[in-house]
Amino acid sequence: MIAVPIVGQVPDLPWAGHARYTWNFTQRFGVRSEKGILNLMAPIPLRIDSVVKRFGELTAVAGISLDVQDRMCLGLLGPNGAGKSTLIRSIAGRIRLDSGSIQVFGQPANSAAARAELGWAPQELALYPLLTGRENLEAFGQYQGLRGKALRGAIQWCLEWAALTDRADTTVKSLSGGMRRRLNMAAGLIHRPRLVLLDEPTVGVDPQARNRIFEMVEALRNEGTTVIYTTHYMEEAERLCDRIAIVDHGRVIALGSKEELVARAFGGRSDVLMRFASTVQNGAEWAASRGGTVEEGVGHFSVEQPVEIAGLLDAAARDGLEVIDVTLRRPNLESVFLQLTGRGLRQ
């Protein structure tokens, strides 16, 4: 055992239980650095080891292994049915694995210790529709063992974090879709867990409400919370996540930062997007003959150098294809997914 003397005070957190845990742990294993407490022997927030889960004939998760480091935001990016939600539910201890293991801060995922460290906002609106926002938070806080002053403090924090203070006493069924989503997230974080699972938190909300949710996630990250964020919107993963795991057919087919993934898939190449006129009939065949694809009337090509665009335009003119717009851009996660699977994220 490493015994390191502690310098500093007990953090002044409103949640006494959490503070006590942190303090005791730090007393035994930690040191305080300029950026906060560093736990030298602390287990990583999440370790997923060769997890397999089948539902009858369907293999929802086919041997996923992942490590998630402290304070990281990991994006699970993949189309509907890729296995993201099954993996999230497995981490939350709600699924019996066929094989493999999941550890949350070194504890089995379905253990009480792991559940205390874990917050989960499921994809569904898992709320009591006839209760107010405050009453929902109160109930879920009590389910997490919070009482009295700690509970009141947690509710206040959640309402402020979700920007719902002025609607706290409105019943859930009377809230807008975006507000319900925010409350759904807050209810999962009422006990201030160190690891948070957000399962497609922006499903069915308008762009303005989505931005508000992004701000909430960013606030969490700024506090040092480790976040697992599932989505099939690549722009969300790009904006919020340090590392991204691209999931397809129950497997992680690529893992890394956005830049790493793009570089691995495309090297220094760039995307050329070429919009054809509506009169063009054979755009797909023409694009395929030049190593490209066509989606919704837009040809996607990969070029090493921007000057190659001129060659593409010349060829299109020669073959009688009317091009009305051309864009050069660095490949994004959508391009990576397309490159890896041959289909779009939202197909």
């Binding site: 709600r94 379905n110 499921p122 609106l125 898992a126 709320l127 009591y128 997490q144 999962g188």
Partner: protein, 433 residues
């Protein structure tokens, strides 16, 4: 186009098992229950009226009457309590023990043949110093006393024909005095009085057996007395409150427990179980909520009965509390079981409607169990309704002490615990996917 609409409707109905159940199974189930209760399964299954018979006279005439009563197929006449296995034969009922037995609900009526009955058993008119046969009855079963009184007259006619003939000759001698004009005039005069009396009774529309007065106009004089409900202010309210209350309690418990299915469908159950709450704790919490809700519902119903229908609630509080707690626990467990067995809320609603209405029909919530054939009375014992109604009857009707509620409370609590354990077993489907 209409054909498409019809076809679509039938396709949807075929796949909606709940609606299918309600559309076809429930009506057939109810039809069968009502048909059995009304005797549709043959006369052999018609309910016999239990009557306790006490022969204080001990004469040859009274002995023949007792034997006639025991032979009567519509009566189940007993002169002594049933012998228990390995126990000595119990003594015959006395007037006091028969009255106590009626008060305890052993039988709805007791028939006491008084000392001296054999000397002057029947008469074709009022008066004449006959000793009336006493019928002690429990007016919670208003049919039984009437049936016993009517069948008594029938049994006298069939079992004592010589006595009737002798009495007829005596009456003839007394009334006519031979065939002299004066005697003929007297006889006509007496017969006229007798007819007048019969007509007067018919015009008053009061059946002597029902109003409790002396049945002096019959061949056998009968004195009827309600030994259970004579001092009750509003005798039937407790039955209604218990019967209807339990039926609606079952519906409420089913709906409340169904919130589990709502929570499962919206994901709240997953979230709760991913917190510090285990499935057993969750079910126990739901069960407690359903029990308290049922308790409040029954209490409100009985308070209303006390305020509006003069139900004697406050003089029976201990028994009421014991029965209400046990009944609430039992119906809550029933709701929990239904919620955990069902896969969807729709399925749960269909199953609960079918089961609750059936249980209420055979358990006595819709019509009294004393009207039912023996087989159905026995089937009723498999319902919470029957045990609850029996318990409330003991409390409010028979004024029995709380200790006498032990069988009802034990059955309700015991079966509630068993149902809860089964529900816990079924709830495993929600613990992990």
């Amino acid at each position: 186009m209409i054909a498409v609409i019809v076809r679509t409707g039938f396709k949807a109905l075929r796949r909606d098992r709940g609606a299918f159940l309600l559309a076809f199974i429930l009506p057939i189930a109810f039809f069968s229950i009502f048909a059995v209760v009304m005797g549709g399964m043959g006369s052999s299954s018609t309910a016999r009226v239990s009557v306790l018979v006490v022969d204080e006279d001990g004469s040859a005439v009274s002995g023949r009457l007792v034997r006639g009563l025991r032979r009567e197929p519509s009566l189940a006449a007993a002169t002594r309590p049933a012998t228990k296995k390995g126990q000595p034969v119990p003594p015959d009922y006395t007037a006091a023990s028969a009255e106590a037995a009626v008060k305890q609900g052993v039988a709805p009526a007791a028939l006491i043949i008084p000392k001296g009955f054999g000397a002057n058993p029947v008469a074709f008119g009022p008066g004449t110093g006959r000793k009336p046969i006493r019928i002690l009855h429990d007016s919670s079963d208003p049919v039984a006393a009437q049936v016993v009184a009517g069948l008594l007259q029938k049994v006298v006619m069939t079992s004592l024909p010589d006595t009737m003939a002798g009495e007829g000759m005596k009456y003839f001698d007394q009334a006519s005095g031979g065939l002299t004009p004066r005697q003929r005039q007297d006889m006509e005069s007496n017969l006229s009085k007798f007819r007048d009396q019969m007509e007067r009774r018919d015009q008053e529309g009061s059946a002597p057996a029902a109003d409790g007065s002396n049945n002096a106009g019959g061949m056998v004089a009968v004195d009827m007395r309600d030994v259970v409900g004579e001092n009750k202010r509003s005798p039937m309210v407790a039955f209604s409150a218990a019967g209807i209350g339990v039926m609606f309690l079952l519906f409420t418990a089913s709906a409340s427990a169904g919130s589990l299915l709502n929570e499962a469908e919206c994901g709240a159950l997953d979230r709760i179980l991913s917190a510090r709450v285990g499935m057993t704790t969750l079910l126990a919490g739901k069960m407690t909520y359903c029990t308290l809700l049922a308790f409040l519902q029954l209490t409100l119903m009985f308070l209303w009965g006390a305020a509006v229908f003069h139900l004697e609630l406050f003089t029976h509080l201990p028994g009421f509390l014991a029965m209400t707690a046990a009944t609430s626990f039992a119906v809550a467990s029933f709701g929990m079981l239904l919620a955990t067995v069902s896969r969807t809320r729709g399925q749960q609603a269909a199953i609960s409607t079918l089961l609750i209405l059936t249980m209420s029909a055979i358990g006595g919530s819709m019509f009294p169990r004393f009207l039912m054939p023996e087989a159905m009375k026995t089937a009723g014992l498999f319902t919470f309704n029957a045990w609850a109604i029996d318990g409330y009857t003991k409390v409010f009707w028979r004024d029995e002490p709380v200790s006498h509620l032990a069988p009802q409370v034990a059955v309700l609590i015991g079966s509630g615990m068993v149902l809860f354990l089964i529900a816990r077993r079924f709830a495993r489907k929600w613990e992990y996917a």
